[in-house]
Symmetry: C2
């Protein structure tokens, strides 16, 4: 349905209609020009040949320094989605399962099922401010559970898991022999401090990406930090599937890392302003939602809403959102990605509120 | 072992040693500058966002026109290797098998095994000029055979399958319900005309790439032409794994297609000159090999040779080649990729001949 909305929004645009697109986690801002220029320079310098399936040594070194791990723990991947898929492909056997707090990013469940594993969801509630019930989470784990997914800040709720809960979840996972796959792609631009799985060593899986922090969604570059043996297995899988991330893209990313703090600060600030506008408009309309701890999303609830029907209807009003059903059992919810400027956010959300049944 | 040689060659280079690298199928020539410029322009125009998992419509249309198929038959992939892996991932069940004429490109067998299938090799011989024995090939097919791989021109032998044999193989595959996966990445730069699987419709799988024809190895862009239902499955797999090939890379590739014939003609001509030099040097040394029908490879035999030991020893003489064992049961052979200028080809191969045991 997420895909259907996206395709229909593009169709309408091709017909000349103006659509305010809140449906994808793809920021409207361009990639910082210094990253574009660095990639171009690298192309001209011939960084257009096959390169290492592990990633360029320089980039891995820089990432290792940032995370205070060894270069051997870092593998550069064509996007964080590939990092997630390859983790599941390598670690999950048919019939095993993955525990996933819900609402959750669509790709976790798709990837798990694609490799023959069962995704097991812990249904969170808006009423509890999307907190994770650790006891109930523990009950979902059995002897066929191999992975547990943490995604803090969360897509679609933009909530951050508090330190205590994070630690408790890791402890439970460790006591039951389960690996935590921690998707932290929104952490660098979070409004509040976040805990990282690397605070617990490199025995688990850190998933990260340049997409959100560096406005590089379409460049397809992410990375993992994992224990060395798993890193070797991932490098081998890269060798027989995607070969490498284009080296010139890695040099673009490397340039981004030079001004990592500044770029992240800028993005965070822009999204904070947008979030403030969105909160105001939605609150005024009496909508229920959790206050976001991070960019880019809001995940409001409207009692009795069929969000799939609503999302389709809303397109006719020139606004695209993602129905809650794309993120689990959340038909009364929809996801708003604040990937447009403040004025558009105001205009789009006012239109949305008026269009509500 | 291919990887070990490659890594050791890079290590030696990092130590300041000059290595003539015949070990990888990665041409020394730079990507044509108009492709680099087109990619840069696309980046600046903001083609840096998520794009279609099927590929940019413009590129698919152009490829569809070239191959005289529908846009819906074309899927752009991050390299032909991913196209091969995803074909196997989607089509092969555990315990099924793939028939592969050997010597063969390493990745076919690696991918097949990785998805739990059995690669079944038909051992070809230099003495028969690497022709494929169609009867013996047919004998390898059983009711668990799902795919048959054709790779003409071939890596590592650079031989082209003649039209009659090609047709016979397709007929046998069709009569036994087996899909042909035809890897034609060297076809556009072949010295002799080649037959394409598309001459038999779109029921099979055409694998192609921009790597060799457009000197874009490190850009990671290839494509498949397949029947529409399989195309849809591949697009869905892209959505949950690699998302998309960066759009700006696709605009670079699109620019390449504008001067497709000219670029291919240039590359072909350069490789023809290199092949002539190589043939002269190797013939003078009395080496046995098949005359190449296409770039980039020669696959000579030296009776009694242990090519793994030889390849390692040869590195000390400043020349890197790939041992025959990387391409099947071919310990007495090694692969020379003519990815250096004529002078270097002469120098490197003379050194090689002197170093022979």
């Amino acid at each position: 349905m997420l895909y259907e909305i996206s395709e229909k929004a593009i169709q309408l645009e091709n017909q000349g209609k103006q659509i305010i697109k809140f449906n994808l986690g793809d920021p409207d801002m361009p990639t910082p020009p210094e990253i574009v220029e660095a990639a171009y320079e690298a192309m001209k310098q011939g960084k257009t040949k096959y390169s290492s399936a592990a990633g360029e040594k320089k980039l891995r070194k820089e990432l290792a320094a940032i995370h205070d791990v060894s270069v051997d723990n870092v593998v550069v991947t064509p996007g964080s989605k590939w990092a997630i898929f390859s983790s599941m492909f390598l670690l999950l056997k048919k019939g095993e399962n993955v525990v996933i707090p819900s609402p959750h990013w669509t790709s976790y469940a798709l990837a798990a099922r694609k490799v023959g594993a069962e995704p097991r969801f812990l249904k969170g509630t808006l009423e509890s401010d999307w907190s994770i019930d650790v006891e109930k989470l523990a009950e979902l784990i059995d002897d066929r559970t191999r992975l547990l997914i943490l995604n803090s800040p969360s897509n679609p709720t933009s909530k951050v898991v508090d330190d205590k809960t994070f630690s408790e979840i890791v402890q439970i996972a460790e006591s039951r022999g389960v690996t935590v796959l921690s998707d932290e792609v929104y952490a660098d631009i979070s409004f509040v401090p976040t805990k990282s799985i690397l605070d617990f060593g490199t025995e688990h899986i850190l998933i990260n990406s340049f997409s959100k922090t560096f406005l590089m969604t379409g460049w397809r570059i992410g990375y993992v930090v994992v224990e060395k043996e798993l890193a070797q297995r991932m490098i081998k899988l890269n060798q027989m599937t995607t070969t490498c991330v284009p080296a010139f893209i890695q040099y673009g990313a490397l340039k981004g890392l030079e001004s990592r703090k500044k770029i992240a600060d800028d993005i965070r600030e822009q999204f904070r302003l947008r979030a403030d506008v969105a909160i105001k408009v939605l609150s005024k309309a009496g909508m229920k939602f959790a206050r976001p701890d991070a960019p880019f999303y809001l995940f409001p609830k409207v009692e009795g809403l069929d969000s799939e029907q609503f999302a389709l209807k809303l397109l006719d009003h020139g606004v695209a959102v993602a129905p809650g059903t794309a993120f689990g059992d959340y038909r009364e919810y929809f996801r708003i990605a604040l990937t447009a400027g403040e004025e558009k956010v105001k205009e789009g959300l006012e239109t949305l509120c008026e269009a509500l049944p």
